[in-house]
Symmetry: C2
Subunit: 226 residues, 2 copies
């Protein structure tokens, strides 16, 4: 499948690398490919420069947001939550119409330091904001409840015996995402219902962040035991 | 131990019944014992009248909030989140001073229907509001992340192989609560840190509610797989 991954940070790189390894044609979208490739310093999160990662992943192509989105049958929003609406606006509603838009971002606001607060919550969600901004896309929220390395390699913790959620209004789009999740190795995919249920998974992040502090590693996930 | 349980709903009854069964001296606190005992109808949540439950649990005593709180070495806030500050005000700061105050409530606002929103979140929590209202109490947040039946009988789901959290500023108070949790059968108690980490467990409720819808039962819990 042709997959566009919007965002060149840890999440975007990790998803793009794994999906390419699984045999998909992957294009990463960024605002300005030349600028992205020209960086020689680690980013704010400590990631090595994108160009280094790119050199290790020659099968993945870097393109402007709009070109990447146009090329994808499925588009993944892996930009930081605070920049997602801007990135999707640059990707262009016409390049997203009718497509599955898998949103893995979180509405984290780091302006007051760590832990971050959420810039949308409770009676709305970033996934719903995205759906309203791109009404013709078929938005599915998933994977935002775990760190990138666990998204693409569930077996890394607890032999993969843990849960992942999907939220969305379009049953067929959710089936596409569930299939992708299963390809990644996820075995317990829980369909929470329509897109507003994304409020639940987004509001889980404050607990996730405290759990990370308590267990001392981002390499964990929750299992819904029932 | 002398334990006061504030609140006569499902959570209060379930905790009081189990703690009494474990050999503790339990007093349930309510606003007006005569009125509570006089009710003959099921409450808004469908619970049978309190008097029926009381008749089955003669070892548990019903008293006004202040008398109950005064009698307890440990006090549990099991009132609905919307009524917690009122109930604790009636319990009286002098009756709570120096005591461990285990808060199991959730700041749910049902005024717009189901699912409820949260009346405090993100940059504050109900646990912190309670701590500010009763500064001399040693507030510990726990157990609010599961349904009452699982609080007192973790083995009811997944042979008890799941997690519970504690948040609080007083290490000794947390140790008291952890000991109580272990007596109830909890085997994976995760100390999230200080009381503001209660924001995390309270903001998890919107996800809990959607999980309940997805799995079709309130009898589940999450395990932190690491």
């Amino acid at each position: 499948m042709n997959i566009a991954v919007l965002g060149t940070g840890t999440v975007g790189r990790t998803l793009a690398g794994k999906l390419s390894e699984l045999g998909h044609d992957v294009v990463i979208g960024t605002r300005d490919p030349e600028a992205t490739l020209a960086r020689t310093e680690a980013d704010a999160m400590g990631n090595p420069p994108y160009a280094e990662w790119q050199a290790d992943h020659p099968a993945v192509r870097l393109a402007p947001f709009a070109e990447a989105a146009a090329s994808g049958e499925l588009v993944i929003n892996a930009t930081g939550g605070g920049g997602s609406l801007d990135a999707l606006s640059l990707a262009g509603a016409e390049n997203l119409a009718g497509k599955v838009l898998l949103d893995v971002s979180n509405p984290l606001d780091f302006s007051q330091g760590f832990p971050p607060s959420l810039f949308v919550k409770d009676t709305d969600s970033l996934a719903e904001q995205i759906q309203r901004a791109v009404p013709a896309a078929r938005v599915v929220k998933s994977l935002n409840t775990m760190t990138a390395a666990v998204m693409v390699d569930p077996a890394r913790v607890g032999a993969g015996d843990h849960s992942v959620f999907v939220s969305g209004n379009d049953p067929e789009a959710k089936r596409t995402v569930v299939s992708l999740l299963e390809d990644l190795g996820h075995t317990d995919v829980i369909d929470l219902g329509d897109l507003p249920t994304a409020r639940g998974v987004e509001m889980y992040l404050p607990l996730w962040l405290r759990m990370m502090g308590a267990v001392g590693t981002p390499f964990f996930n929750i299992k819904v035991v029932r």
